[in-house]
C-alpha cells in the first residue's frame, strides 16, 4: 500500500495509506482531504479535483488526455506545470511517498 502525502493549502501535510488501482481523487475523498471537491466524481468534467504533482512523477504517468489538458486551464486555482486532475491518476507503487499538493484558489 503506497503512502500519499497530501500537502494542504494551509501548509499542513496529511499522509495516507492508499490502495493501488483507485484514483488519487478517490483516495483524497476517502480521507476527507480539504480542497478536493470532485463534483463529477471522476468524469474529468468539473475540474474540482485539481492537484499539483512533482514534475519527475509526471513522466512516469500515462500522458495527459486532450480533454484533461483543456479542463485544467479552467480549474479554479491557476494551472502550474505539475497540474493534473487527481481523478485521472491511478494509485500505484510508483507513487509511493509522493507529495500531492492541493493548490490554493
Amino acid at each position: 500500500m503506497p503512502t500519499i502525502r497530501f500537502l494542504l493549502t494551509d501548509g499542513a501535510e496529511l499522509a495516507v495509506e492508499a490502495q493501488n488501482g483507485r484514483s488519487l481523487m478517490e483516495t483524497a475523498l476517502e480521507h476527507s482531504v480539504p480542497g478536493i471537491i470532485a463534483e463529477c466524481n471522476g468524469s474529468a468534467a468539473c475540474a474540482t479535483c485539481h492537484v499539483v504533482l512533482p514534475e519527475e512523477i509526471l513522466l512516469a504517468l500515462e500522458p495527459i488526455s486532450e480533454h484533461e489538458n483543456d479542463m485544467l486551464d479552467f480549474a479554479e486555482a491557476p494551472r502550474e506545470s505539475g497540474s493534473r486532475l487527481s481523478c485521472q491518476i491511478k494509485v500505484s507503487d510508483a507513487l509511493d511517498n509522493i507529495s500531492v499538493r492541493i493548490p490554493a484558489a
Binding site: 468524469s43 468539473c46 480533454h67 483543456d70
Partner: protein, 393 residues
C-alpha cells in the same frame, strides 16, 4: 433499524409550481427521503445525501429504458451509465470543453448577444424573457449544435415540447402529439445537416458526434441532440434572468460586481444556487439501499432535489438570500457524478462572461419596471417567466 419513508400529502402540485422552497424545507426537516404525494415522488433534499447518491451510480442508477424520457426522445445518455454513457458523453464533449468554448464559441455568442441587445437598446423597456433571454439562449445553442439557420423560435418550441413530453405523466394526448412533432422536427433538421457536417469537420456537436470514435449511430445522434435541445436552452435562459434579477434586487451587490468584473463568475454560481434552473432529476434503485437510515427498495425511483440541496441550511446560511459574497461552497445546480452537466462551461461563459455583463453595460440604469410584475415559476424546471424592465435609452 432503518426508518420508513415519511409522507407529505397536504401540499398541492400548484403549491410546488408556485414556490417549492418552503416544501423542500419541510421535506428536508422531516427526513432524508420523503414521499410528496402531489408530485408522486420520493424526494431526497439534503445536500450530503444527494452528493453521496451521485457517488454511487451502481446503486442509484440512471438506467431506465422504460422512462418517459426514453419514450419521447429515444435511448439517450441521460438514462445510461458506465461505459455506454461515457462513450456517448465523449462524443459530445469536444464541442463543450471550456477551452473550446473560449476559442470557438465566445465570439459567435458575443455577436448573438450584441445583436439581440441592439434590437431593444433604443426602446428603454422590454420584457426580458421573450425579448432577451430566450433568443440568446436558443441562438447560442443552435450554433453549438451545428443547427445553422434554424430559427430561435423553432428551437424554443422544440425544447419546450420535448421537456413537456418527458414530464407528461398524465399522458395528455396533445402534449404527446407536440413532443412527437418536435422529435421529428429535430430528426429532419439533423438529416438535412449531417452531410454538411460530415464534409466539413468543425467544432459543433453534430460534427463532434460524427467524428467520434466509435462512430455514433444516427439514432444516438438524434437522441442526444434532443437531450441537448431539451436540456441546454431553458436552463441557460432561466439563469440569465435569475442572475439579472438577483442583481437588480440587490443594487449594492451589482455595484460591487460591476466594479470588479472578476466577480461575474461567482455571481453566476450564486444565481444558479439561489434559483436552480433544474430543481429535480430522478435516479432508480438497482438494489435495496438506505439513504441516511431510510430504506428504499430496489426498482423504486427517488427524485434528487438539487434545488432543495442548494437551499440546505446545514450547508448554506440564509439560503433563500441572493448573496454573491456568501462563504464559498460548491453547489449542485449542474448535478454531480458522471452526468454532471455537459453544458456547464458553455453556460458559465455565455451567461456570466458575455450576456449579463453586456446587458448591464448597454442597458444603462437598468431596473425592474415593477417588482410586482416579476413571475417565477416551476419546480422541476424553475426560473423567471416574466420580467419587465426599464432603462435610460
Amino acid at each position: 433499524m432503518s426508518e420508513a419513508v415519511k409522507v407529505i400529502d397536504d401540499v398541492s402540485f400548484g403549491d410546488l409550481l408556485a414556490n417549492p422552497y418552503p416544501i423542500f424545507k419541510r421535506v428536508r426537516d422531516l427526513g432524508p427521503v420523503v414521499k410528496v404525494e402531489a408530485a408522486n415522488i420520493m424526494m431526497v433534499t439534503r445536500f450530503d445525501d444527494v452528493m453521496a447518491i451521485e457517488r454511487d451510480p451502481v446503486t442509484f442508477s440512471s438506467i431506465n429504458p422504460q422512462s418517459l424520457l426514453n419514450t419521447v426522445i429515444g435511448p439517450n445518455l441521460m438514462r445510461k451509465d458506465g461505459e455506454d454513457h461515457a462513450r456517448e458523453r465523449a462524443a459530445m464533449d469536444p464541442s463543450l470543453r471550456p477551452g473550446v468554448v473560449k476559442r470557438c464559441w465566445a465570439d459567435p455568442m458575443r455577436a448573438i448577444c450584441d445583436d439581440v441587445i441592439s434590437q431593444i437598446e433604443h426602446k428603454g423597456e422590454a420584457e426580458l424573457f421573450e425579448e432577451l433571454a430566450a433568443p440568446i439562449a436558443a441562438r447560442a445553442l443552435a450554433d453549438i449544435l451545428g443547427f445553422d439557420g434554424v430559427d430561435w423560435r423553432t428551437m424554443a418550441l422544440w425544447s419546450q415540447s420535448l421537456i413537456d413530453g418527458s414530464g407528461n405523466y398524465s399522458h395528455d394526448a396533445e402534449i404527446a402529439r407536440k413532443a412527437r412533432e418536435a422529435a421529428s422536427g429535430v430528426e429532419s433538421a439533423v438529416d438535412r445537416m449531417l452531410s454538411h457536417h460530415r464534409d466539413n469537420p468543425n467544432p459543433s456537436m453534430l460534427s463532434s458526434m460524427l467524428q467520434a470514435d466509435p462512430a455514433q449511430t444516427v439514432e444516438q445522434i438524434y437522441a442526444n441532440i434532443k437531450v441537448a435541445i431539451g436540456g441546454g436552452l431553458n436552463e441557460t435562459r432561466d439563469s440569465i434572468l435569475t442572475l439579472i434579477l438577483g442583481l437588480l434586487q440587490n443594487p449594492d451587490q451589482l455595484a460591487r460586481v460591476r466594479a470588479e468584473p472578476s466577480l461575474w463568475g461567482q455571481a453566476f454560481e450564486e444565481a444558479v444556487r439561489w434559483i436552480s434552473p433544474i430543481g429535480m432529476y430522478p435516479r432508480r434503485l438497482a438494489r435495496d439501499a438506505e439513504i441516511s437510515g431510510t430504506l428504499v427498495r430496489k426498482g423504486e425511483q427517488v427524485g434528487l432535489c438539487v434545488g432543495a440541496a442548494n437551499h440546505d441550511d446545514r450547508r448554506f446560511s440564509d439560503p433563500e438570500k441572493f448573496d454573491v459574497f456568501r462563504e464559498k461552497k460548491s453547489h449542485l445546480a449542474f448535478g454531480a457524478g458522471s452526468h454532471f452537466c455537459a453544458g456547464t462551461w458553455v453556460s458559465r461563459a455565455l451567461v456570466s462572461q458575455i450576456a449579463v455583463p453586456m446587458v448591464f453595460e448597454r442597458l444603462r440604469n437598468l431596473r425592474l419596471k415593477d417588482p410586482e410584475l416579476v413571475r417565477i415559476r416551476g419546480w422541476v424546471f424553475r426560473g423567471p417567466t416574466h420580467m419587465p424592465v426599464v432603462w435610460d435609452a
